[in-house]
Each structure stands twice: as structure tokens, then as C-alpha cells.
């Protein structure tokens, strides 16, 4: 099936198998490897992307379902070519280790900040309910992000 998906402001068109997942489209067709695959069952959250501004696990969606949608992946996140507030907070401390999950945390954290204007402990714990990190034990992530505000 022919699909066109806008990823980070750029249209990617391809003739794909109906069973192709969105994450495979992002990684294999668009060649954007910052979106990681950790489980393919929607539990780990490493493949999180934003579709029309809302977080979605791209392993649980088919590429054909995303036809015509606007998607933001980790490669499309940032501010004026630099890291955004969430990226700054996560990189300036021990909030990441192996970081295979971190791109998913950045994507979801960016959405949570957009929604709430400020990241409180409750907002953080609620937002990351679908993101697994096996290295940090989470508290370093929570502490790094707590109090982060949107500053335009």
C-alpha cells in the first residue's frame, strides 16, 4: 500500500506491506534510527513518537494507520538546533545510563511539558507510566525533570 507520512516536517512516501509497523517505517523507510525498538508489545516505550503532538508507541501502530499524519521523532525534537528543556535536564545529570530508552523518555517528557507547562513529580510519574528504564531506577529521572518549566 502506498503511504505518505510526514516525519519531522518532511514527507516520506513508500509502497509498504499492510503489516508494516510504524516504527519499522520510521527506522527502515525513513532511516531515522533514534527511535528504538525494545519490545514490540507496547510496554517499554523506547519507540515513543508524537503523532499530531500526542505520544504514541510506534510499535503498536501500523504504517498505513499513520498515512497522512504528522509525526515527530527524537530527531525532530529540540530548540533552535540545540536540546530542549527536557533534553537539557536529562543530559545534565545521572538521569540516563545506557540511554537506549532515553529517546522515548525525551519524546514523552517533551509532550508532558507542552501539556502542563511545568513538570511536577505527579506529572512525571503519570506521564512515564508506559516507559521502562532498567538502568537508573527512575528517581534520577524524576529528580532531573522535577520543576522543569517551559521557557519560550
Amino acid at each position: 500500500m502506498k503511504v505518505t507520512i510526514n516525519i519531522n516536517g518532511k514527507d516520506y512516501s513508500a509502497d509498504v506491506e499492510p503489516r508494516m509497523t510504524l516504527v519499522d517505517f520510521i527506522r527502515d523507510v525513513a532511516g531515522l534510527k533514534g527511535t528504538h525498538v525494545g519490545c514490540e508489545t507496547g510496554h517499554c516505550g523506547a519507540c515513543s513518537v508524537l503523532i499530531d503532538g500526542r505520544p504514541v508507541k510506534s510499535c503498536l501502530m501500523l504504517a498505513v494507520q499513520a498515512n497522512g499524519k504528522r509525526i515527530t521523532t527524537i530527531e525532530g525534537i529540540g530548540k533552535d538546533g540545540g536540546p530542549n528543556e527536557v533534553q537539557m535536564a536529562l543530559s545534565s545529570s545521572k538521569a540516563l545510563q545506557c540511554a537506549f530508552c532515553s529517546t522515548g523518555f525525551v519524546v514523552v517528557g517533551t509532550w508532558a511539558l507542552e501539556e502542563n507547562g511545568e513538570l511536577t513529580e505527579d506529572v512525571i510519574k503519570e506521564s512515564f507510566i508506559g516507559n521502562v528504564c532498567r538502568c537508573t531506577g527512575y528517581e534520577p529521572i524524576i529528580k532531573a525533570l522535577r520543576g522543569v518549566r517551559k521557557n519560550d
Binding site: R27, G38, C39, S93, L96, T103
Partner: protein
Amino acid sequence: MTQETYELYRYLNRSIPRLDSEQKVRGELKYLTDVYPEGMLHGYVLRSTVAHARILEISTEEAERAPGIRAVLTYKDIPGINGYGAIVPEIPVLAYERVRYYGEPLALIAADSMEQAKAAAEMIKVRLEPLPAVLDVDEAMAEKVKIHDKGNVARHTVVKRGDVSKAEAQAHLVLERTYRTPMQKHMFIEPEGGYAYVDGSGVVHVLAGGQSPYRDKLQISRVLGISPEMIRVKNYPTGGAFGGKDDATVQIHLALLAYRTRKPVRLAWTREESGIAGYHRTASKITIRTAVDREGRLLSNSAKIVLDSGAYQSFGPTILDVSIETINGPYRVPSYLIDAYLVYTNNGIASAFRGFGAPESNFAIESMMNELAAELGIDPVEIRLRNILRTGEEGPFGNVIRNSAGLEEALNRARSSGIWRRANGSGWIKEGVGVAVAIKGVGFGTLPDYPSAAVEVIPEGKVRVMFTNPDYGQGVITGIAQLAAERLQIPVSEIEVINADTMHSPDTGSSSASRTTLTAGSAVVQAIDEALSKLRVEAASSFGASSSEVQYSGGRFMYRDRSVTIYELARRLRQKGRSLRFEATFEVPRYPEPVEGTLEVPHMMYMYGVALVRAGVDALLGKVNVKEVEFYADIGNVINPSIASGQVEGGVVQGLGYATIEEYRYSDDGRPLNINFTTYVVPTARDSPEMYVEFVKSYDELGPYGAKGVGEIGIIPVGAALAEAVYRATGKRIRDLPITPWKLV
């Protein structure tokens, strides 16, 4: 360097961000499963769906003729030895004659597409004659069904000192208890994977998540039957490992497929495949009998330790050693008798997992200490203070305690903590606080260990540091760069690290046993000293002075009013065609001989930790809710406090998972039941307790700038501390982890 200079470091004791953190948060760091080489083939592994069977037939003819198939390999196609394994090469690379666990690899396929590979796998004709699956260690030890011809006990050893029965006869109290711990899966977020290719000169390149590039290289060379020089292995970056990528995973299969097809091949396990075929922590059953006097002083300790190795050994023999070393805790134990078994079953393959046998034994001895304290009416911190070894004393395995002052201070800090007063449940929620201490050796004990590293001074203004212990998230790239900066007295921004690549670095060994700071750190410091001594001569000659008259500071050599930077000297050496690369080998200090009956006990360097866990238990639902954890640790001098405390916190939460919700299980016929995040549940942000980590002041002369190690210490005491908290809250002693609700209601 002595303890007095503690406060004077410029680049140590500082929480600088990780050198690779910006790349990581921007998604720019390419993991080895993110690389899809041009023209690559897709690798696929056909696995057994029976736990124990005789192989009658594996026929690949039809599959070989299928469209898009470039190679189908079975054991017959292995050019060298069909065996690997970190300690004994007994694990078949591809099954031969017998299948011993569900998921054991039968055949490898390389195809133009994954669909073609899977279709071809269906065409492979496999005939297996099922044998009874042995899943329980007691059943295995009864030897009714033999998993290996030599029998089901992979290793048995007895380690003893003194007269235990005499000590027990004189004791005020002797307690005997049996404790069990489950298999635990690593559940790193990046499953095992990577790619391989053969270059124009015939060198086989294997780039895959791993923990020990030089061991991978050796294991690949045996299987391919070619010289290790014809193999290159790179393991950085790796998306988490925790021991689960220490022994080979995809590396040998990748090398076989690339070597056969002469094409680039990608092989990455799915999460389910990782769940089925990946390694896990040894399950343990430990019966311990401990004798004490009226004041709670230990008189003797007896233990029967049984570890489930699964179908093959991997690291089992040395894991058993660490269990033996851990069972006496950090305590004065005048006499002991340890009867230890490593047992084969058809439960996958157990291998290294953070703590490496220590969390298993720690749960037994530390639960025992808590039970003894309760029986005797002694405070649980006090009973430990009465028994811990002090500096200068000889430990139970003949090792002289060089620096356990840190443990005493950690216990004192734990005793005065406010956490004890914060346990105040209400209604159906009962709360309690539990304590446990941990001891863990750094490195390989008495086994010889000679890590090498290299530095190269780049005239353009960088010093390149090369070592092979992979950074799979621990932050070793950053920590070692800080050590290098300190030694060179130049900013960390001038240090560039090449990590875990056999093409660039000599063999520093693996990231395991909390050894990277000690091994890579010391070898890098020595390589820098080597570089500076050569550069000093060059500087002296340019000054017309003798090298003893030349001073070094901040990246430059000085003589009277003249000075020259290391980079200018490197430029001159390069013009003369001289090497700018300097290597050194560090000899890890060790006792010359292991204690009788062991392979590597004791260690010379130990880390210590004290965990305090406050937990609430819902008396109606049996649900355990961990509220806060305090952790006091002696890890030597701390290079990067933020990264180091992150290691403890991450370890603590893995330990809480292990103690409450994690348990890798098999069906009665040996099929793994929980192989993904849906069925094997790990802690999430909502489960994360408040954590407080404090490092007591400590300095170990054997380590680089007094540093020891940290990676494993956090996970070790968590189970026993939580079980004690639950006991304090409910009066129920849980002696088998995990502490699930149905054990409490």
C-alpha cells in the same frame, strides 16, 4: 598519592555530565542494532521448541534452495570447535546430538529479507525425540535423568575451616534456615544484537552489544578456526547489559554467517527471543546453619549452597565461588563448612548478572543475621557491628582486611538514620524498616588479571584514551576520562575515549565484577605515566636540560622560564616519525593462591554497602510498597559522585524488582513462561522509592586515586533488607524471594 590529597583533585570527586550524554538525548548515538550496513543479509536463528531431546535429524536441503537464502548452517558447518562458554567451552554454538533447553539454537539462516529467512526456517526438517525435562535442582541431583553424560552436577566443592560441630556444641543459639532466590532476567532495553562483515583483507568484524570484546574475539576465533588477529570485535555502544551480555550472545552466530556468506549480516534478537534464549541469574537454594554466643557473636557458619546453572555452565563455576565468598558476609567467622553445588537443569542458561552469586548468598546470610538478632533481642545494626571485621584482622578466607573502616562508619550512619522513626503505618497499612549489609569483591580474586590500555597524544590538542571494558551505561567512559584528566592535569574536554574496540585498544578485559575503575583506570594512569616519561625526555632534550630538571604541570613541561605543551612535543615526535601511542599493562594485586576448594577466593579489594529499606505492607492485599531506601556505601574514593550514586540507585531498584515482582519461570515441560515486558514485569517510575545514597570517606591504595568499584554493590543487600522490613511490619518471615502478595496473606 595519599589520602591527605583527597580534597585537592581538579577532575575527581566531580559530577560532570557523561561525555556521550548529549548524543544520547538527541538520539544521535548509533547503537549497534541501529546500523544496517549496505547490502546486508538478515540473520535468523532456528531454535528448539523442546526443552530436552535427542536430535534425530536436522535436514536443511529444502531450506537452502528457498528464495533469497544465502546460507543455512548447522553444527556440521562449523569450521572450528562447536563450543563456547566464558569458563568452559561446553555450550554448543549449534546443537549437536542433544537439545538441553527450550530455545537452544539448531540452525542459522542468512537471507535477503527477514520474511525469506523465517520462511526457510519452516522448511528445515527437525526430528527430536523428547526426553524428560529436569527443571528442579533437587530432581537434577537425584540423577534419574542425566542432562550431561558426566552427570548433573557441574561443580561440587567443599570449603572449610575449623571445627563447626565443636563450635555448635558450645553455642548459645544455633539457627538453621533454608532460603531461596529466583531466576532473574536482565531485561536491558536493547535486546542482544549487532552486525558483522568481512573486509577486503579477510578480517571478520563483529560489532554487537557485549561486555568483553577480547573474550568474544577469542571465542569467535575458536569457532571459526582462524587466528584471533583476523577478528575484530566492537561492543560500544550497548543498550544495557548487567552481566547478560558478558558471555557471547549473537557474536559467534554473526561471525559464522558473515564468514560463510562474505556479506554484511545483521542479527538482532527480538524481545521474546531474548526472553527465551538470553541468559538469566542463577536460582539459588541455600540452607544455612549459624551458631552464635549470648552476645550474638558468630561462632560458626555452615551452608549448603545449590545454584541452578541451567543447561550449561557459562559463568556458573565462578558465580558459585562468589556465592561461597559471600556466605560468610563481612564477618568474623571462626569456623565454617560450605558445601556448594552448581547443578545442571533444563532451565535455559544461567550466567552473569550484577552481583554474580552475591545477591543469592547475601539473602541467606543477611536474613540469618536479622533472624539471629530478633531471636537474641539485639538491634540488627548492633549485631553486625559486633561481628564485622576491622582493619588488620584476617577474614574467614585468610585475606587481611585492609580497609573495612568504611563499613563500620556506614553502619554507624545507618544506626543514626532518621528512617527508623519514619516507619509509622496506619490502618491496614503496616510499616517496617529493615537493614542488611553487603560485601563484594572487585575483580577476579586470585585469578591472574593483566589489563592493558593505551593513550595517544594528538598534536591537534587531544589525548586519546583507549580501553576495552565496554560502557553499556555505567559511565565508565566519563569516569576513566576524569582519571586521565587528573593524571595529565588537563581538562576533560581534551580527553577523547575510544571504547571497547579491539581494533584500537589493547585488552583491558571485560566490564564485569565491578572491575572497570580498577583495571581500566589503573592501566590508563600507567599508560599516561609512560607517555609523560617519554615526552619528558623529549622536552628535556629540547631545553638542553636533564629530564630530572624538567617540571610538568597542566599539560606542559617547564624548565626555568621555558615551557612546551605535550601537544607541541607530540607534533615534533610525529615529524620524526615516532609513535605517539603509549601502552601499559597493570597487574591487578591478588593473593597468589585461592583458598582450597575455590577457584578465585578471596579478593584483595572489597566494596561494602548498608541498605535500609522502609516498606509498607497492605495487610488485606499483601501488597508491598517500598517507601524509601537509604544506602551507605564504601566504594573507595569517588570519581564522579552523580554517576556512582546512579549505579547504586539503579542497582537498588533492580534489587527491589528481584525481591518483589521479578521471577523468570518455566512450565512443567520446560517452556519459559514470561519472556517479554508484558509477562515479566519490571519496576516502573511509580514503583521508584525515595532514595538517599551516601558514600563514606574511603581511600584504597590499590585503586587508581583510591577508587575501588561500584557497579554491583547496590543490588546485593536489598532482598534481605526488604524481607526484614516486611517482617517488622507483619511478623512474617519470607525466606523465598520474590515477596509476592500471596506469600503475605
